[in-house]
Symmetry: D2
């Protein structure tokens, strides 16, 4: 298929390569040109601007946040000038409110809008092993299914309204942040008695918590191994804040997210903005005088 | 080995049977006589009081809380009159402070004190498949190792001070409660947008949260399936409170536990004390107007 | 002085009348024309649009929120077309971030910017008895001092940067919300034991808490007297949210504000958006099963 | 009247002197003898033990906590050997649960039980200017009214059950702690923007918060003036914990108290246990990186 890709950071480049490996022809654009040049060298066609990318049959967007998406898709006029019948696949983790705004904007522009946020880090994206949460109208979702299967090991249907996939992604990232805070408090508690947190972590991940979330973050927190960051702390904070905002719009109190919000601010105020988001665990330890 | 067992509730009876299956001779006692009579019919020797049980080489205690342990072991005089060289294995989930008090009381009475709290519900106990957290002096721990292996599929060494195993157990149960609250908030959030929580739960347990804790409680919460209780809400509250108390003694703030404390009270105030502790998830839903 | 006034709600109309009583000539504008017509009948000059109001020497703005201010002042082009040397007095309670943005916009437009948010309800505004928090460059602040004295019984100098007055206002409204939540929890606690909250309220306002904040809200909460609203619940929520946002930008965790945020959402989810903001106290009572 | 007094710390000695000034004859006891000797030198009769004090017509108890009261009154046998018809006036701030236990113990011993916790610090006690919260059966309350008037400038009737006065005292001390935390967060917020907290404090205590609680603690927090302690931090923490425990027994969630609990622990973990309880305000500042 003639596929476009906007946003070629670590995640986006990996996803784009997976699409090329699956035999799709790619036109790509990125704000800074280098990543696009690298993909051009691998066979992609480099577009002059987002509007040119939107002449493809299906266009992925994998950008940092609402603001970057608004710039590239709406303010650039790209969406309005899209190829008739194009399908836009939004893999960026954006706010629920903005995803709802995009539903209206796509309807107006006559472009099909499919949400396909992903779970996984850059190495997983590079391997084409992401978990893809997909939501949108049945027909366009069915048409892009082969593309989603090219980037992911599993595609999870979420619902018919695109914002539902972004909502689900936020709920999952909120849960991941909560797992980090849980480990942070559990470990601060046992360390306050002189017990090695690794011992408790090993029991947890060997029994009830034998899951990637606890294995990955349990090791990072026990080892105080926060640099280089796999996922920077302010990005984790952003997702917690988006969960809070989504809750606010729907009148859902999220007291765990409120606690985490305060802890992320505490971490940033203590100079940890360049570290992995699991460095928020240092707040619980510091508050206990450890 | 000549083994004693005090406390024959659902958990204790299962553990006692595992010990008999492994060929140990058992003397048992329970406040209400029926469970002891049932084990007597299966070959155990029914003791008249805790002190008689303490004439065994090794004695398990599996009682509900600090208070029940204090009654049976300290106030009854059983510990003082124990057989010389006896080893006391405390499998009850007790407070860290009380476990520390018991360390002193055992030293004074000349009885070895091994902490061996367990992870698992009654059906797991009946199958001898518990996870056992063990802490205590090396020599008695080594001597009772065969007993612990009889009741558990895995024995996890925690430390040389018995209270460390009780602390680790509390940290894990706190984490379990936090997983329940996390799911409760995540599901309230998505339900507030009309999205079926089951869809998000399936993604979670199929990806980052592929662990027993999330599978078990994810299903219960999605299905609102809180009766009959597997673990009653006030017992879960007790463990959160014990974690808070342990944190208090060591000056470790636990803001997630504080949120959960308030939510457990909210649940009890709304009449849910007879339900499974995962019914605390109804608080997040109710607060969101669901 | 030739004074302009934009925003003639209950607060703004009272302030405008105070200015006229003090002998100033007024030109006024309001989105809906009726309040402007009423003031016209009392001697004010009704302007066709905000830009016309900005031909005055000094212009007050008293609008609901950031959005309304942006519409009336920036998007309308009024600020750009202001009379040379005009002073803009912002009495609206706006966000700190927007006040900082306005500092830059005024500098660019060559209009002096004075922040003068007020404490007090419509009846206090009508009586010219407001407390006025003023911040801005010394020269324009000195020039508008007589205007501020016309609307207020006391003018409190806050600082040289206008956003500092808006920040101070948010800190005070946060404190007011916290006093409401404090009373809500204290009263829920005593009521849970069958003690009449009025008895405790009387001791409080007769001793350590003998202040308007506790007298006013103590009576409202004890009497469950939330309608008609003196200050609607979503407006109170807005101020708590603005405090949280201001804290976020400066990395200051505000755990009390986080608790209140969740409680305001709980209140709105339970249908109390039309009530006085002190109705958030019903959350603590409801959670206690009262 | 023949009055007894047990517990002659800073508060108790001041109260005892007020009683002597009012013409009552006093018999006194204190665990450490010096304070009793000082009062003996001023005309009081020094008793050998609490039981001897309980031969008076009315006996005040002003001790640190539940434990000290239990030691002096119950475990000593003093209550059982009290003079027939004696009235016991409990001015100590004790837990609601213990006050309820004392109701039963006094009924059994045939001693009238009046709760009379006080508001005010040692200098206020010395001046006989305390606020006294009184609860108990009408007849004994009426009989001791002159004594209460001797120690206080105002006597506030709370209810017929003694524990209600202790409950009210806890609700008020909880509110005081919440005022401290409110100021701490409000000041951290404005300081994070470089605004002097004193400016905001002055507006607050000059307007809506013109009350002793805010004046006293506003000054202490702005001045970071925490030593010598007027009321030590662990005592303030104790009262917050007692409020939480009272809430727990009645199923009343108190999220503000939960936040404060965590902050008091944070303060103690940072070495501030010898400071005034308003030093808990340093937690909000520290967490904001100030």
């Amino acid at each position: 298929m003639d596929v476009g890709f906007i946003g070629l950071g670590h995640m986006g480049s990996g996803m784009a390569r997976s699409l090329m490996r699956a035999g799709h022809s790619l036109r790509v654009w990125n704000r800074s040109p280098e990543p696009a040049k690298r993909l051009e060298a691998e066979g992609a066609r480099r577009a002059a601007d987002p509007a040119e990318v939107f002449q493809a049959e299906a266009v992925f967007t994998m950008l940092a946040d609402d603001h970057a998406v608004r710039d590239a898709i709406l303010d650039s006029g790209a969406l309005e000038r899209a190829r008739p019948g194009a399908i836009h696949i939004m893999s960026s983790s954006i706010s629920v409110a903005f995803s709802q705004e995009l539903e209206a904007a796509h309807a107006k522009a006559g472009v099909a809008y499919v949400a396909a946020p992903v779970l996984g880090r850059p190495d997983v994206a590079a391997a084409g092993e992401l978990n893809v949460l997909v939501a949108g109208a049945p027909e366009p979702v069915e048409r892009v299914q082969p593309l989603l299967e090219a980037i992911g090991k599993q595609v999870w249907p979420i619902g018919a309204a695109p914002h539902q996939a972004h909502l689900a992604k936020l709920a999952i990232n909120f849960s991941l942040a909560a797992a980090i805070e849980t480990l942070a408090e559990a470990f601060a508690l046992v360390r306050a008695y002189g017990l090695d947190a690794k011992i408790v972590k090993d029991v947890m991940v060997g029994t009830l918590f034998a899951a990637p979330a606890y294995r990955t973050y349990g090791d990072l927190i026990v080892g105080q191994n926060f640099e280089p960051a796999l996922f920077k702390l302010p990005l984790g904070f952003k997702d917690v804040r988006l969960a809070l905002e989504a809750g606010e719009a729907a009148h859902a109190p999220l007291p765990f997210a409120s606690v985490m919000r305060d802890n992320f601010l505490d971490a940033i105020a203590h100079g940890d903005a360049e570290k992995d988001w699991s460095a928020v665990s240092m707040v619980a330890a510091r508050r206990a005088g450890l």
